[in-house]
Symmetry: C2
Subunit: 459 residues, 2 copies
């Protein structure tokens, strides 16, 4: 292992330019969930490819898929050294409710050393850290301590619809010794975290149809099933008052967490009271007998993400609506299988659909839950890199979020996955006023640079 700080001067000298480039990247509205933004997906992919070419990455390609393109590039001149695959995503979440944004979501602005924009933290800002780290090393040394392959997709926020097939089809090209992903949050401000487990995801849209058209609630109310009532009845049957999911067999495959792991969670001394205050809720809520960390890391959930039907305008309209709709998703933990859970939900809906209503469902894309061993040398090297950049010990944790593609990577390429996040929990990802702390942007680049030196002789 070598120590080197020469690239840090380069980073300081080029910081303003780097931030201007990041602003350019963030100003592309690459919302994968909305088909009207299709042209922006290509634009963001081309922008990323150009950013790789500019810093000396080779074999850069924008590779078409049946959905949004994948950006690939590599630098493989470190003979005899390990090869690292870097993954990220250039697509972002939708921005609604737009009126709650204090600055326009695609007009990035730096306020108090935080950059505000959709995608600032999830994932453009974190993805850009890796590009700028490689630039710093290549510009300073003309070489890298390890071989790198970079692979950025544009469909992470919609379940990596086509990326799964991409990985399988490009297995040889993507072959590596370790996968590095920065698409997660630190444990707390100033407290880096390496994540060794993620929850899986599955879900569906539920559409309830009643009468052929909206009806007058006075003339028909009481004699015709109201689709909103039917939907409410179906949804309410899925969860009890204690927050436990009542889908038959939902918890059957949930792996028990060892007392050792629960003890590790407790040692993090998570402040539930503080979280409650920050979120401005009267109290936290969830399965009793489980702490907040356990509820979000090792317990599965079923959440209604959206519901709509009937009149929603100002005032009142006495309508018995024709339709009602909801979107639900589950977060899954080992060893739950997304397909199995979705089928259980479907059977539950079939059994609980009340008379006079017809329900159709559309499945969302899913991802399996994932856990990786945390004593792997590639992960321990990450701990040392964080210590170098942040001056503190990193913690090894799980996350309640999902990166479904991680499970595919690990299975198809059969390599360890190192999740080195630089986001923070309160950066409003998936919500209005998303932002990214530039302090972690700066330290993140140093952490990643240092990681390649740490990794050089570790694998």
């Amino acid at each position: 292992m070598r120590l080197s700080t020469h690239y840090e001067q380069f980073l300081q000298n080029n910081r303003n330019r780097h931030l201007e480039e990041l602003k350019q990247f963030l100003s592309i509205p690459s919302i994968s969930a909305l088909s009207e933004h299709k042209p922006n997906m290509v634009q963001a992919a081309e922008w990323t490819a150009e950013a790789l070419r500019q810093i000396g990455i080779e074999n850069v390609q924008v590779i078409p898929t049946e959905g949004n393109p994948v950006v690939y590039g590599d630098w493989l001149k470190a003979e005899g050294k390990p090869t690292s695959l870097i993954y990220g995503h250039y697509d972002v979440q939708p921005v609604d409710p737009l009126h709650l944004w204090e600055t326009p979501p695609f007009e990035p602005e730096i306020i108090e050393n935080k950059i505000f924009a959709r995608g600032a933290s999830d994932n453009k800002g974190q993805m850009f850290i890796h590009i700028k780290a490689l630039e710093a090393l290549l510009a300073s040394d003309g070489t890298l301590p390890v071989n790198v392959k970079l692979c950025f997709e544009g469909e992470e926020e919609i379940g990596s619809v086509h990326f799964d097939a991409f990985i399988k089809a490009h297995k040889e090209r993507l072959a590596a010794d370790v996968l590095v992903i920065s698409d997660s949050v630190m444990y707390a401000k100033g407290k880096p975290a390496i994540i060794y487990g993620l929850r899986g995801l599955c879900g569906m849209q539920i559409d309830v149809k009643g009468p052929k058209g909206d009806l007058h609630s006075g003339l028909y109310g009481g004699a015709v099933q109201n689709p909103i009532h039917a939907l409410v009845q179906i949804l309410d049957s899925m969860r009890n008052k204690q927050g436990e999911i009542t889908i038959d067999g939902f918890y059957d495959q949930v792996r028990n967490v060892s007392e050792e792991e629960r003890e590790q969670f407790r040692s993090l001394q998570f402040n539930e009271e503080q979280m409650s205050q920050e979120l401005q809720v009267t109290e936290l809520f969830g399965e009793k007998d489980y702490s907040v960390l356990e509820r979000t890391w090792v317990r599965p959930t079923l959440e209604i993400n959206g519901i709509y039907g009937g009149f929603k305008g100002e005032g009142n309209k006495t309508v018995l609506p024709s339709e009602a709709h909801a979107k639900i998703t589950c977060r899954l933990v080992p060893d739950q299988d997304p397909d199995d859970i979705v089928e259980r939900i479907q059977r539950h809906i079939d059994r609980h659909t009340p008379p006079g209503a017809v329900v159709t469902t559309t499945r969302f894309d899913s991802g399996k839950p994932f856990v990786t061993p945390f004593d792997h040398p590639a992960i321990q090297a990450a701990g040392r890199a964080y210590r170098y950049a942040y001056g503190v010990e990193a913690v090894y944790i799980r996350s309640g979020g999902s990166i479904p593609i991680v499970e595919t990577f690990a299975t198809v390429l059969n390599i360890p996955v190192v999740m080195m996040g630089f986001g923070l929990n309160d950066e409003n990802i998936h919500a209005p006023n998303e932002h990214f702390h530039l302090d972690n942007f700066d330290k993140g680049i140093i952490t990643v640079c240092q990681y390649w030196f740490e990794l050089e002789d570790s694998l």
Copy 2:
């Protein structure tokens, strides 16, 4: 009683002009529920006033209220004859979902002798019948067989917010021997109905607040109350699987219907199977032991009119939303009291609000249920007028709808109410593609003209 058909020639000669005038009236988007349409409310009131002046009605005034103006006019030269008060409303329901309209809601079009536009049936078309009936008589005879007072409001679709106070404040001016309203439907095509009972109305908006902002369902799901789940739980607790309302004491004041009245309902031989087919529902739904007519005429309901919260766009967004909302209304029957019912719902919500959620409610305007004796001479006269115009016997029925103001009129003015409707059940009132059968527009004018002759010596 005199018989007269001389005005019918006038009606034939002027039919095209009358329809052009109706189109003008219908093209004013006087949606009382949406504040952006405030100027259109004044526009519709002024249009109505001018229509009254044109036909020789006197003392025409557009009277400002704290809300939308009231249009008043009278003709009181039939000395010694009864005075009839005619009520209608120039405001209309909102038009969403707009994309389901086959012709623009405020660009009236006549297709197959039906006029399509928002308000065509409810209530502009029916209200216009009265104006044109008076025109026909005044133009043909230069006089009327009875005295008339006309009073049209602009807030019926939002609960007659300020009209209640208006009636009380103008008690003397509105004094009459009978109130005539055409704002209801016939029993079936070609089968006129005189309505002797209406359901009352009350309701509220329910707003559920959870965390201060939208949260990532992966990072927080399982540990924070989801406002949509909380709302679903509250709403589902209000109705059981059989469609019975489970609000404590909801049915306490419901007056039992006599076996004689139920027998009268049965004699109407209502075709439930046909209704089910027309609405394209798999089956009808409601309280067992009650027929469809009973469920909609003499049983109270609680309906969710709208629900919204979280993500409703294309695709999926894994959000744990900050807020969820619903609008509910109850149809009430004698002797339920709207204020009592709303308070019971409020207490129910208070008792059923789950932890981690804060609920606020906003009451909608309400109206009491109303029943009028159907052997009153003014009502029997209406039966004869219908027989004259339609050549069939009218039926005496109740309606599931609400005209809250009817109860106020009856209480404040202490007069019988004759509800002579010319709409049809399938004319999509409160829904896309509202329309009005011109056959009933034509026969409606003759019915009303004849009614004034029938009434002349009845009271």
